[in-house]
Symmetry: C2
């Protein structure tokens, strides 16, 4: 099934206790597309970069089945750039630089060839841009999944609440779920958030795994305890990319299949953090993924 | 199989956002025995109280199959007393009062009738008292499980390390595992801690569940997301009491059975937090527990 994802394609500069990088390829859309692309022959991307974005990076993405027909390249402008430094426990980080650049006035344009979209993944972006992406499609996709972050709750809550009424699945972290619902209990938070629109809610808890809610049903996927987390950048996007990639591949949006999709997303994320940036996502094989999914099965079974 | 537990039998005064109590029955041994007693016709207790401890409380415990032949009652002395106040998120608390009283010079005495002990549960106490309890048994039990806390790591690390060489299973929380191993990664911490003695390690993560480690094997049991946590007091002791009670009932200490024991302990703990103190533990039925274990199965299966 065809998958369209919209989000940022950008430069990241990362520093963790294991080392630091210069500007490397990053952005929510990059991680989502690489992760979802593991499951699908093609992933359609809508995003924007400046003309500083190297052709080499675009060629690399294309070689993984990522369709960049919807990638706008703004002449004379610079790509979105984020720099961050992780603390020793890897659970907290400081943002050192955020340069919106081309993202500041991004208007998503959906190419005609993308209009058959069955699965739509809205990466973390201004809620207004997420709305425009949905409205840019002639037919409503079978499943719309969105990511967001606490920043939009602070500065664009009305727009955010409007997108929430337009999507099927919301994917946020525990802190964001608490902020959005003003409830500490994640179970109570989930009820309130699902009443805002999305019938299904994923709450990411980092090293503590992820929760999936739909009506009265719950699924708790643990995170695989790892000896070393090398670089957590992109883990959340890799997770949700694997989730929607697996759903699109199997074309089954039942709750039972969403459980398996969560596990596949978690497995992809567990690889992502093993090296800097997107590096590890280029190495994994189908056998690696099958082995990792078995580790999750072994981890959770009783 | 016969189970012996040693720990505190005490008074607690609790305050949570839902209300507060006067002095009520508390102590690690009380929660462990009540939880383990759910699985066994009898639980043998070694503990100490002052003569302020009401006969009514002792009668209540006895009515649940808890054998108090090993409960020392110190004339003219007062029982251990702890008072605490939980913050709004229930994940942190302030200790308002700690009066050691009879616990200050507790010398465990194991009654002759307890010497057939197959399963030994060492509740959180001075490591020296835990050692004396093990040494007070003529034959080594089939399984020795111990709880401890960060306080003993601060003030009695040498004694604590000595107990660790004498036990089979250590049960601590994530913060304690990190302190004991000086490692942030729980998987690395587990390796180092198991090298200190216990072949099996349980790391409790509160609302994030519990991890079980043995050699290279891992099991992750999620905590059931609850709408309300009324009072978390005793949840950890109820958890480990359910764990060892289930093992003693089934008399199977394989890793596979320990997985099921962790789930039964987690189920017992999920009941415990639904009311103040030990109250909920007196209400649950076998059908309640079976239903809750099924909820865990549903929560974790994919």
């Amino acid at each position: 099934m065809s998958l369209l994802t919209i989000g940022s394609v950008a430069f990241d500069a990362l520093e963790t206790p294991y080392g630091k990088t210069d500007k490397i390829i990053g952005g929510s859309c990059t991680y989502i597309a690489l992760s979802a692309g593991f499951f699908l022959p093609k992933v359609n991307v809508v995003a924007v970069v400046g003309d500083d974005f190297p052709q080499e990076y675009m060629d690399t993405l294309k070689s993984r089945g990522i369709n960049l027909d919807g990638l706008q390249i703004k002449k004379g402008e610079k790509s979105f750039f984020w720099a961050g430094k992780y603390h020793n426990n890897m659970n907290s980080r400081d943002t050192l630089v955020t340069e919106l650049n081309v993202l500041a006035d991004f208007k998503p344009v959906i190419p005609a060839s993308y209009q058959d979209c069955d699965y739509l993944m809205l990466g973390n972006l201004t809620p207004q841009v997420q709305i425009e992406a949905i409205q840019g499609l002639n037919k409503r996709p079978k499943l719309v999944v969105m990511d967001t972050m606490n920043f939009w709750m602070d500065v664009a809550m009305d727009d955010l609440k409007r997108v929430l009424t337009m999507v099927d699945v919301l994917c946020i972290n525990d802190e964001e779920a608490r902020q959005l619902s003003d409830q500490y209990s994640l179970r109570t938070a989930a009820k309130l958030i699902m009443a805002m629109g999305p019938k299904t809610l994923i709450i990411k808890k980092g090293e503590h795994g992820a929760l999936l809610f739909q009506g009265d049903r719950m699924f708790y996927c643990p995170a695989l305890p790892l000896e070393d987390v090398f670089d957590p950048t992109g883990a959340g996007d890799t997770f949700v990319g694997g989730f929607i990639g697996y759903l699109a591949k199997t074309d089954d949006i039942s709750f039972e299949n969403m459980r398996r999709a969560i596990v596949h997303g978690s497995a992809m994320a567990s690889f992502c953090v093993e090296k800097f940036g997107t590096e590890r996502l280029f190495e994994i094989t189908e056998a690696d993924l099958a082995g990792r999914v078995n580790e999750f099965r072994e981890l959770a079974s009783f």
